[in-house]
Amino acid sequence: MKKYIDDFKVIKNERLNYEYVILTLQHPGQMPEMMPGQFVEVRVDNGPNTFLRRPISIHDVDMEANTMKLLVQEIGDGTRLMGQLKEGDNCNLVYPLGNSFSLPEKKRVLLVGGGCGIAPLLYMGRHLVANGIEPQFLLGARTQEGLIAMDAFSELGQLYTTTEDGSHGTKGFVIHHPVMRTQSPEIDQIYTCGPEAMMKVVAKYAKNHGIKCEVSLENHMACGFGACLCCVADTLDGHKCTCTDGPVFDSTYLKW
């Protein structure tokens, strides 16, 4: 897919809680097509401590409004500066980057996310619905506070949640949710994005149950488009770039 570099306009900055915001960015003209699982590289302006761009997943896309949404978790200087973007600010993106989630062969899919890893799952959910597939979401967090954008997900499909402290949904990790036991025979494909520990458990579970599983990695990146070779994942074919061969990989392809 052709890559672009453009100044988007911030048209909305919605603060979800102390560490999450959703930015709505508008393309200056006709926004090109983007696939779920792909990401953008955000240039962080005004950051004395941020030098490189920051990779952020495409959270949602509205082709008619020429907008896309980014769900940003503020964990450091770069994401904090993004969280301070105001309506009318420019936001320079290199996009769309990376490969994308595949469509499942059959119809029963589960999307498992944690932390800011839920970001790409919303757009993927929308894509699945558009393709006649009913997504189920299983989102985990430490506490209720960490469960965000629930409404958007439940509009698209069944939503299950877990929290480590039991303050919302099932108590425990995503892997402990009943959907994993009761529905596994019927699930044809899992898509997962979130903390690596979570994804590994999910991938192992999928493997044990013979379920195809796509994981989306968040390796640290310098360029985001294949020029630096910094972002490699260990695969059956050796080092592969997370930014061009990924971020989405079949979990069995990774040397986990």
């Binding site: 890559k3 030098f51 360029c223 910094c230 080092h239 061009t244």
Partner: protein
Amino acid sequence: MVDLKIDLNGLELKNPVMTASGTFGYGEEFMDFFDISRLGGVMVKGTTLEHREGNAYPRMAETPQGMLNAVGLQNKGVHYFAEHIYPRIKDYGTHMFVNVSGSKIEDYIKTAEVVNDLEHIPGIELNISCPNVKEGGMAFGTSCPSAVAVVEAVRKVYKKHLMVKLSPNVTNIAEIGAAVEGAGADSISLINTLLGMAIDAKTRKPILSTITGGLSGPAVKPIALRMVWQVAQAVKVPIVGMGGIMNTTDAIEFMLAGASAIQVGTANFIDPCVTDKIVVGLEQYCQENGFSKVSDLIGAMEV
């Protein structure tokens, strides 16, 4: 109307702007962004005799106005390059140089031999300065005798433009520049990355899998400029300057310090169109400052 051409010791560049090895892939990653044939030259990634997987992840750490990398020369080897990549890139409309790396002199020679047979490759850049590999690499570039040995050996088999890339991790870079000139280099490029390190105070672990890595970006620019200036005074062959160039002004500074051409590395990651902008910017600067040829900038710093 400004003449942007540069004579690199007999090799003509359409303008002084090149890309730095390891930061521009084989150019293809940038074609969506601009027409790379507008560049003076492209330096393809570090190429070794054999296939190399490079170092383990993590390979990157961001630093104040810079970054550390520890890629470690990941590439498929020169034979794969000659067979599969060269045919694709040879007609890109700009000089495609190959950055040749190795752990043994023997490897450098064999690699250079293969590249010598590739008609449309006008030259190589001998990387005797890679800080990210266990054997060879930088070790060659940090002493005069070893630098001379590898340059002389490659010079015997490589007939086209031989650029030698120096390591900044040395006490006296002018001395090494003069030595490689004596050993037959057609031009000298500098600087490669400075050996650095990053630690995560939270986990109390090094950030890079290799502990140390190579520092690049604006942070190193003052050091790079100084070294270009020192080497320019010690040698007669043209110099290709790099290290932290982010824009036209930086590029001009390197030319004023004595560089005939410049390479842009890390900046490509932040603005993939930066090299194209520098080509335009250099022309503008010359126009505004009454230089009819960009080559008039070379070493034009008034001391």
